[in-house]
């Protein structure tokens, strides 16, 4: 446990974050873009927890931030999927290139 320094966990979360960034840049399908955003949020969670555990072991604030991020990510995913399904009804496609106009 103590053999792994904090920097290794930060390297892991950096890698995961930039994997999410790559997915967000290359994908043009809304659901896969949402999946990339989830990966990025998870890497931020790992950061919060690792900082809390290694640098401030007597406090719990990083844990609380992670719990709140998980909750907001759930709400965000639900709203995003509702919007995607609504968009599919009106455009019959969930490609971001096809959704260039908002309502009409």
């Amino acid at each position: 446990m103590s053999e792994i320094p904090l920097t290794n966990i930060l390297f892991l979360s950096t890698g995961l974050f930039f994997i999410g960034v790559y997915g967000l840049f290359t994908r043009r399908n809304m659901i896969t873009m949402l999946m990339s955003v989830e990966l990025m949020l998870n890497s931020v969670n790992i950061n919060f927890v690792a900082f809390n555990k290694y640098l401030y072991p007597e406090k719990l604030d990083g844990i609380f931030f992670s719990i709140f991020i998980i909750t907001i990510a759930a709400a965000e995913a639900a709203v995003a999927i509702a919007i995607i399904i609504n968009l599919y009804r009106s455009h019959h496609s969930i490609d971001v290139e096809d959704a260039s106009e908002m309502k009409y």
Partner: protein, 180 residues
């Protein structure tokens, strides 16, 4: 090298490999399953850090909630057996360049910074402690964000229903007229 560090490297390689597969595979259903494995790997990382409560929350919310929601929406919107079109070559090249540059920048920053722990007490996560601080109004309690987030969840729930609801006004009136 002890068993704990070997387990850490295995978990890290698992998370990164499944994450890369989740953003590069061209079948969307497989992408969601790779995302599922990546999230399970992150829960395993929390278990490795001895944060059992957070690992349980991760499995319940992400694996049990969000990924299932994503899979349902895939089945509702896309022909999941078909392959997605390849990304444009220039776009993927520039995305890869940006990602490589960003990764190198952040990794260099992290490795140059000297992290020093502020105290030597052993981190010990107690669910009892989390509950007490979560619902505390003083001593840096988190009661106000807790209440705000409950309002946010309610608003998101109602908003989802309103957005995804079919507008049946026209159909309903014609149906009533036909009855009369």
């Amino acid at each position: 090298m002890s068993a704990a560090s070997i387990i850490f490297y295995i978990i890290a390689a698992f998370i990164l490999a499944t994450g890369v597969l989740a953003v590069t595979t061209r079948k969307i259903f497989r992408a969601s399953i790779w995302l599922l494995f990546s999230l399970i790997g992150i829960a395993a990382l929390y278990f490795w850090m001895q944060l059992e409560f957070l690992a349980a929350v991760q499995i319940i919310v992400y694996v049990g909630g969000i990924v299932v929601l994503i899979i349902f929406s895939i089945f509702l919107t896309i022909k999941s057996g078909e392959e997605m079109p390849k990304p444009v070559l220039t776009r993927s090249i520039f995305a890869a360049l940006a990602v490589l540059f960003g990764t190198g920048f952040v990794v260099r920053l992290i490795s140059l910074y000297n992290f020093k722990p502020t105290s030597t007490t052993v981190f010990n996560l107690n669910v009892n402690q989390i509950g007490m601080q979560m619902l505390d109004t003083k001593n840096f309690g988190y009661l106000l964000p807790f209440e705000l987030i409950s309002m946010l969840l309610l608003a998101a729930m109602i908003g989802c229903i309103v957005i995804a609801m079919k507008s049946k006004d026209k159909d309903a009136t014609t149906f009533q007229n036909s009855i009369q």
